[in-house]
Symmetry: C2
Subunit: 141 residues, 2 copies
DNA sequence: TTGCAAATGAGAATGATTAGCATTAGCAGT
DNA sequence: ACTGCTAATGCTAATCATTCTCATTTGCAA
């Protein structure tokens, strides 16, 4: 009943769509999903939720700290389960593979860069766009 | 005639709209401008260019390496003159002030993070979202 | 079980950006 | 300078992701 706890503590009613979305992320099959992805996966598994609801739920979960939202290059944003550990992302430009990483030095220097210039760091987004080195990349190798 | 050289070498005809857009950026009054910003500024100065043209020109300039495009938090993207020097950005969440910075160590560690995980770094985007420390911030101080 | 506010679903609306197309304007060659 | 042709422009309509509206449904507390 981990899901229920999450929802309760966020002041969210435990509804079918919310549980479905949550368990999709907790199943762990795909860490990074867009609203469209979630919508399609739910449809595919016979669960009938509206796209608008998916968007709403995703955003509520983000507010509640259950999910984290990312804007990879360009258009649609993706969500991933918030497991407390902050990390940044490397995205393969060819196959889309996403790898997570954390570098204490980078974090450190960012804070420094901000404070040196009269800012108090609140947040940051760091995406590395790269190419898989063979033979891992699904497309280019 | 710096502008002309730019355009020529990019294989772009030297047209009125392109010259207008280019000189807007080269005037240096605002480093970071969205398509909408450019459009409005041109209108304001009596130059009559269509919004679609602005978008087209901006993208052509990006391809040509004359401008660089950035996606700050959320929606619209902004462009800035490409002066050869790569840098990242700090954006104030309150007043929108944008400060540029470069940190060799961060660059370094990114390359390392990528290669350690089987990627060849191609590109990256790093945005620090922060709050101005008083009294510089136009809104919160 | 009842009642009601909160949540959902379907479709319309929005906002940024792009595509389609008829008209205009650079510019190379007379 | 004049012709002509292709690239460029300026509308407007179209896209695409995301949000809003609102009538209907559902979770849940009394």
């Amino acid at each position: 009943m981990n899901e229920l706890l999450h929802l309760k503590s966020a002041g969210l009613k435990s509804t079918l769509p919310r549980l479905k979305v949550l368990s999709l992320f907790e199943s762990g099959n795909d860490r990074h999903l867009s609203a469209e992805d979630v919508y399609k996966k739910l449809l595919a598994s016979g669960d009938d939720v509206g796209l608008a609801t998916v968007y709403r739920v995703l955003n509520q979960f983000e507010q509640a700290g259950i999910l984290v939202k990312h804007h990879f290059e360009g258009d649609k944003s993706v969500f991933e389960l918030n497991q407390g550990d902050h990390h940044d992302h490397i995205v393969c430009l060819q196959c889309g593979r996403v790898e997570e990483f954390f570098d204490a030095t980078i974090e450190q220097r960012q804070k420094k860069a901000a404070s040196e210039r009269g800012f108090e760091l609140h947040d940051h987004s760091l995406y590395i766009y790269a190419n898989c080195i063979k033979p891992k990349c699904k497309y280019k190798n």
